[in-house]
């Protein structure tokens, strides 16, 4: 079977979807399929968005391959008689142009195109239950399909240290600041490692985090590692942590780092308002879920520190939980080709 995968990307900018596409490409080839993957360059400039969407509409893949898997909008505008779309959470807030009315008109035009692209697809997949519910409101039947962890086999467990690991892009939405605020209320010596790359204009947030740590005199308990973390270092950090933290504010996605923690047999501490992470973490099973309230979070942090057997057990429940949710390439491939 010949399969075409299509996605969009900004050249030289690493993005989650690019990795997933590469993972899918590899997984399909490993299973013996002929795969052709297209990464279409895509600029976010408001005045260029519609023309690029048009370009994708004009490119005709309908004679090629038995199936087209379109990942990341607006690649689902490509024409193909047997098209499936896997909607990964993308930043739907288009960057504002200079005029609100024009922006709105542009938004409407894109939504119209979205509509068409999705309804042409024989199947639509999304990466969270929240997204599925949203689509049902528009009478679109989407199936939840979680992107698997890449290089699952490289993650491992080296025991359970004393630090909680928050490994995520450093942006305000991810709320690393909440982790620091919560640490203040802990009674145990549990410590914190915050690691991740920041956005090109993200320096103010990083400074804010530093200030917080300093302000609360937590320098000896919080390690901040801003910037790109090389893979082997990342694996080490996960391998040695006590548990992982993941509580972005209302993010659709289950949190990629949650999977990385689970693959290292570590539990995840999250909050009730984190969004998609809630689909992965069941309180008491493979992690803890608390109100987004520093004292409550602190209490959970202390719990993890004090009750090592429980913490380990919840960590061990990670991989089965991932399997249950189909977070592996076997399941993904089977669904995308069904």
């Amino acid at each position: 079977m010949k399969i075409v995968i299509a996605t969009t990307f900004t050249p030289f900018v690493k993005s989650g979807s690019t990795y997933i596409v590469n993972g899918l490409d590899q997984s399909l080839k490993q299973r013996g399929y002929d795969v052709e993957t297209f990464h279409f360059p895509f600029s976010d400039r408001p005045d260029e968005v519609l023309q690029q969407a048009t370009a994708l509409r004009l490119i005709d893949l309908s004679q090629f391959g038995d199936r087209l898997i379109a990942i990341r909008t607006p690649s689902h505008l490509l024409k193909h008689p047997n098209k499936v779309v896997w909607l990964l959470h993308s930043d739907r807030d288009a960057h504002g142009g200079s005029d609100a009315l024009e922006d709105e008109a542009r938004r409407q035009a894109l939504l119209s195109a979205d509509n068409i692209g999705l309804r042409e697809s024989s199947r639509v997949f999304c990466n969270s239950v929240a997204a599925k519910i949203r689509m049902r409101r528009h009478s679109l039947d989407a199936e939840v399909l979680y992107p698997p962890l890449l290089r699952y086999d490289q993650f491992h467990c080296d025991g359970y240290g004393d630090y909680l690991l928050y490994f995520s892009r450093l942006t305000r939405r991810k709320r690393q600041w909440l982790a620091i605020e919560s640490l203040r209320y802990t009674k145990t010596p549990v410590s914190l490692v915050i690691a991740g790359a920041s956005d090109p204009d993200g320096e103010p947030y990083v400074a804010e985090l530093r200030n917080l740590i300093h302000h609360y005199q937590l320098n000896h308990r919080v390690t901040l590692l801003p910037g790109w973390v090389p893979d082997d270092r990342k694996l080490e950090l996960f391998a040695g942590c006590l548990a992982g933290l993941c509580f972005p504010l209302d993010d659709d996605s289950y949190g990629y780092s949650s999977l990385e923690a689970h693959a290292s047999h570590k539990a995840i501490l999250t909050t009730t308002d984190a969004g998609g992470v809630r689909e992965l973490i069941v309180d008491g099973l493979n992690g803890l879920v608390r109100a987004p309230d520093p004292p409550a979070i602190a209490e959970a942090m202390d719990f993890l520190y004090t009750n090592r057997p429980a913490t380990q057990q919840m960590g061990a429940a990670g991989p089965p939980r991932m399997k249950e949710l189909g977070m592996n390439w076997d399941h993904v491939v089977e669904r995308l080709l069904s």
Partner: protein
């Protein structure tokens, strides 16, 4: 919102008069600056008036300070030439006061630019081989010049101002339809506002040389062939004039050869003394005729205006009108004017006869006409609709820009408009971006 409003603003310009009223209302809703090129006396306005001596003085820098630029276009070269030149390099909204703009462009190419080839090229580009033929014939002395004949309505040339526009406002549904044939962007019909001067003194019938009991029939405005004045004269000639003393006054500039034709028709029908061609008169005199009129005849065939200021004026004066059932006039409410086939002498005669012998009918029509006009042709409602339209235009910009981009690329490939792929593309874009329903 910052608006640059380009208009002729001379007191001699009907469009100028209109603009003055509109700008006053528009200024209450947005920041408006009037841009004009007139050297003579202009209207006064509560909005700032920026006078320029030439189009080049209106720089991009100046225009970039405005959110939107609006251009008023009419078929009279001296008032609109400079405006056209600015609009060519800075796209904005076009307000079309006239349907036929051929006279203006013929003047522009032939008198102002002194270039016959450019005129021929424009005619060919817009209207194909027939256009080219008509242009060539007009320039050789092989036949009548197209702008002096009825055929001019087939070559209106308004496309030359709409092609660069980002939106078009017309004052009649009739013109809106025509524009939509060749313009892909937003078009809106807004009723032209009009006010009349009810304050100033009018001359008496006696001062106008009319008897108190005379049945005064009036046709005002530039005396053009398409106003069918010869037919009116002929119809009057067929009326039974034993009951009342009928007087028909034709007030407005009248070109030499047409005046001759009218005089000959008067003579043929023995109507010396009944029909009076008074030519161009003062504002006051014009108002006076209208004020005393018993019947106004306002025919057009073929229709070349976008809307009729004279008809609106007449309705505001509360007069019964006889109009041709075409163009703008066809849109006037049934019970407020008398509509006839402008080519039917019989219907004209019958209508005149009926109104002449029926004062109640005349009164009823007059009241209905005034009520309608006062409701419909208002500056404040015009201004509100302009603002609403601006929002529509801004909303249409992204897709219009996209169409432009595609057109430019296809152009560079030498793909002509008539190739199937152009239609297919247009259809595809429409379907793709036209829906607007939210999904994710």
């Amino acid at each position: 919102m910052n608006i640059a409003w380009f208009t002729p603003f001379s007191t001699k310009s009907a469009i100028g008069r209109c603009s003055a009223g509109i700008v006053e209302e528009l200024s209450k809703l947005a920041q408006v600056d009037v841009f004009c090129f007139d050297s003579e006396e202009t209207h006064s306005s509560n909005a700032p008036i920026r006078k320029f001596t030439s189009p080049s003085a209106v720089t991009e820098e100046i225009l970039s300070q405005y959110d939107i630029v609006i251009y008023n276009f009419g078929n009279y070269l001296p008032f609109h030439r400079d405006i056209i030149e600015v609009s060519r390099r800075h796209p904005g909204i076009a307000i079309l006061h006239d349907f036929v703009m051929h006279h203006l462009f013929a003047g522009y190419y032939l008198e102002h630019l002194k270039s016959e080839p450019l005129y021929i090229q424009a005619m060919e580009r817009l209207y194909g081989r027939p256009g080219k033929r008509a242009a060539l014939d007009s320039l050789s002395n092989a036949g009548p010049r197209v702008w002096e004949t009825d055929a001019v309505v087939n070559y209106p040339m308004f496309e030359l101002v709409t092609s660069t526009a980002c939106g078009v406002i017309t004052h009649s549904g009739f013109l809106k339809k025509h524009v939509e044939d060749s313009f892909a962007g937003p078009v809106r019909k807004i009723s032209l506002p009009y006010t009349i001067d009810r304050q100033s003194q009018v001359m008496s019938r006696q001062e106008l040389g009319l008897g108190e009991k005379d049945l005064l029939i009036v046709t005002v405005g530039h005396a053009n062939r398409n106003k069918r004045i010869t037919s009116v004269i002929e119809a009057i000639g067929q009326l039974d004039r034993s009951q009342n003393s009928i007087r028909y006054v034709i007030a407005g500039a009248c070109a030499g050869d047409y005046r001759r034709d009218l005089k000959s028709m008067i003579a043929q029908n023995g109507l010396e003394g009944v029909v009076r061609i008074v030519g161009e008169v003062s504002d006051q005199e014009l108002r006076s005729y209208l004020s005393h009129a018993d019947i106004c005849v306002n025919l057009r065939w073929p229709a070349i205006e976008g809307a009729s200021a004279s008809a609106i004026e007449e309705m505001l004066f509360g007069k019964p009108l006889i109009v041709g059932n075409v163009g703008f006039y066809a849109e006037l409410p049934e019970n407020s004017v008398v509509r006839i086939d402008p080519q039917s002498l019989e219907q004209l005669r019958d209508a005149l006869g009926r109104l002449a012998s029926n004062p109640e009918e005349r009164a009823r029509l007059g009241v209905a006409a005034r009520e309608y006009a006062e409701r419909e042709f208002r500056s404040d409602s015009y201004a509100r609709q302009v603002i609403a339209f601006l929002r529509e235009v801004q909303g249409a910009r992204p897709l219009l820009d996209l169409t432009d981009k595609l057109a430019r690329q296809l152009d560079q490939m030498g793909i002509s408009r008539d190739m199937q792929i152009v239609d297919d593309l247009a259809g595809e874009l429409d379907t793709l971006f036209g829906g607007g329903e939210s999904i994710t």
